[in-house]
């Protein structure tokens, strides 16, 4: 028996030689995030579809409105109407992104265990920290930026559509473009997306990722049932709604309420200076919680194998 002498002599390709360089953290992050987007195309498809559907609705609405608009120039009422629609379009796209973000986070560290692909990912020199951070970057950075870009494009198309629609009606179209204060609204939106969706919601996404890394099955139930049950127990035991209040405040309250008031105010730049937002203790407590959740998620990913 010649154990493997044939292997020795026939080994033709010798790819030893050039010792390659390190892969930087930024590069590993970049490819990990791209990988996430390849896998979860809903990250961009869902907001795009929402935007397309909204534009379709808007078109129908415009056609109906055209009959009613007289020959006079646009009054403040019409401007307000358009502004309201901008807000609706932004809310719709942001809401879609939020839902996508929630479901994405719940599946992010669970799906790879369920389909066993975690064994492939772990065979590559990418740390658990990089993987978890790249998965966090999707809801807190990529989705807000994407929804910003899509909202901006949608609003631009809305404006263009309105202009075309009103072209023959004698309405002063220029006032549409100046009145809409397109630039300012966009800045507020970007600010809102990055602070609220990026930072203020971070503990929510952190929690979801942690549950996703831990859950033996059904991460959705594990993520939502415990807070729900605890709220109920708290209510019956102490007749308080402390946790519910906390969750509610995190979801609806927070910096958002103050933002909206400033939205139409004159000292617009004031809203952009973030001294108020960044001095909120709720933000920092939330970020600290997010850090804890993420730390646990990173540890869990190391321990957990395929299920």
């Amino acid at each position: 028996m010649s154990t493997q002498s044939n292997a020795m002599t026939e080994s033709s390709i010798q790819s030893q030689g050039t010792t390659p360089t390190e892969i930087s953290f930024a590069r590993a992050m970049y490819w990990s995030i791209r990988r996430e987007i390849w896998e979860n195309r809903s990250i961009y498809v869902a907001p795009l579809v929402a935007a397309a559907l909204f534009l379709f609705g808007f078109l129908i609405n415009m056609m109906a409105m055209r009959r009613h608009i007289g020959t006079a120039s646009l009054g403040p009422a019409q401007h307000d109407l358009l502004a309201t629609r901008y807000e609706i379009s932004a809310s719709l796209i942001m809401g879609t992104a939020l839902i996508v973000g929630i479901f994405y986070s719940l599946d992010a560290l669970y799906g790879e265990r369920r389909d066993r692909s975690i064994l492939f990912w772990k065979s590559l020199p990418v740390s658990d920290l990089t993987v978890v951070l790249s998965k966090l970057a999707i809801p807190i950075l990529i989705l807000p930026l994407l929804s910003f870009a899509i909202t901006l494009a949608t609003q631009f198309i809305m404006l263009a559509l309105s202009s075309v629609m009103l072209l023959g009606s004698g309405v002063n179209i220029a006032s549409l473009w100046t009145g809409a204060s397109f630039f300012k609204v966009s800045l507020v939106l970007l600010y809102h997306l990055l602070t609220v969706h990026g930072l203020y919601y971070a503990p929510i996404y952190g929690w979801l990722l942690m549950v996703s890394a831990w859950a033996p099955r059904a991460p959705f139930i594990w993520a939502f049932l415990p807070p729900f049950v605890i709220c109920g127990v708290e209510k019956i035991a102490f007749n308080t709604t402390y946790l519910l209040g906390l969750i509610e405040e995190r979801l609806i309250g927070g910096p958002d309420s103050s933002m909206v008031e400033h939205d139409h105010a004159q000292d617009f730049a004031g809203t952009l200076i973030p001294h108020h937002f960044f001095s909120m203790p709720g933000l920092w407590i939330g970020l600290a919680m997010a850090a804890v959740f993420l730390f646990v998620a990173v540890r869990l990913r190391r321990y957990r194998g395929p299920i």
């Binding site: 028996m1 154990t3 493997q4 080994s11 010798q14 066993r116 692909s117 590559l124 020199p125 658990d128």
Partner: protein
């Protein structure tokens, strides 16, 4: 140079002991076959080596602690854990892009060259590839990585014989050289017989045999005994015997039984080196009292 060194490696899942204090040393340039029945602890041992599971005891892989340094270790270690772990949603081109993006030692042109020999299209999704093609793709990805240790855990499970043959041929001809080390577990031991340099049998969390293939050749003899010589042969205390077509085939271990000499055995019948599967049944079957699934 030592690639893997383990001392007193232990791992328990609840009350089940998967690894019962094993000592192991694998040097550079070896191809080690890790053979054992289901539940023997092979995969646990490999998982410990790959940093996928925690363990007690000492373990160093290429001088690193796998559990705490998995990501750095994976620059020099590749593994194919299973035929079906490539993400099914991925496209072939995306798999190439991603590995090229995150692995400092990935040679894309080499992977492309290996894929060119197959019928795999770059635009195909992995879910649309046959099982054999997925294995080819995974092997192409792994072979294009200039790693020092390659770990294969049942790499050909469920593949047909053509793919299996091709898999090992490709591994030997286009990948293996003396500076690399391969550790492989499989139930299809027959195909490994001529590939391995070292053999290790595991059973119930322990190593029951650990030697080079050359040692196997010099130590174990299998004799198909002439009908008239059976009693004489049995007197030499074979470690295992079986009947094939009415003839006795006896296996002798000259390592533990000093009375055996090869010429004497040759006189009793047709002597040859046993196959890994027969040796496995003899060694592990004797120990556990039942010969469960050496070669499935």
């Amino acid at each position: 140079m030592t690639v893997i060194e383990a001392r007193g490696l232990r791992k328990a899942f609840g009350t089940t002991i998967a690894l019962d204090g094993i000592d192991l040393r694998v040097d550079e340039g070896r191809i080690l076959g890790l053979i054992g029945p289901n539940g023997a602890g092979k995969s646990t041992a490999l998982n410990a080596i790959l940093g996928l599971t925690q363990y007690h005891g000492e373990l160093r892989v290429l001088g690193r602690d796998p559990w705490n340094e998995r990501d750095q270790l994976m620059r020099d270690v590749c593994f194919i854990a299973d035929v079906a772990v490539l993400p099914r949603w991925m496209r072939v081109s995306q798999a190439l892009d991603y590995v090229e993006g995150v692995h400092p030692r990935f040679d894309r042109s080499k992977a492309e060259g290996l894929l060119a020999k197959t019928t795999i299209k770059r635009t195909s999704k992995i879910r649309h590839l046959s099982k054999g093609m997925v294995a080819q793709l995974h092997l192409a990805l792994v072979m294009a990585i200039d790693a020092r240790l390659l770990v294969l855990d049942e790499p050909t499970l469920g593949l047909d014989i053509l793919f299996r043959k091709q898999f090992y041929d490709s591994l030997l001809n286009d990948y293996f050289d003396r500076s690399r080390t391969i550790v492989v577990t499989t139930h299809q031991v027959e195909e490994l017989q001529h590939i391995l340099t070292d053999l290790m049998f595991m059973d119930r969390g322990r190593i029951v045999l650990n030697c080079t293939m050359d040692e196997i050749e010099s130590r174990y003899v299998e004799v198909m005994v002439h009908p008239g010589q059976v009693a004489a042969a049995r007197a030499l205390k074979p470690i295992y015997g079986r009947q094939v077509f009415g003839r006795s085939i006896l296996l002798f271990d000259s390592g533990t039984n000093q009375n055996i000499d090869r010429q004497q055995l040759a006189a009793l019948g047709e002597a040859r080196t046993p196959s890994i599967a027969d040796l496995f049944v003899a060694v592990v079957g004797n120990q556990s009292g039942m010969a469960q699934g050496a070669a499935q």
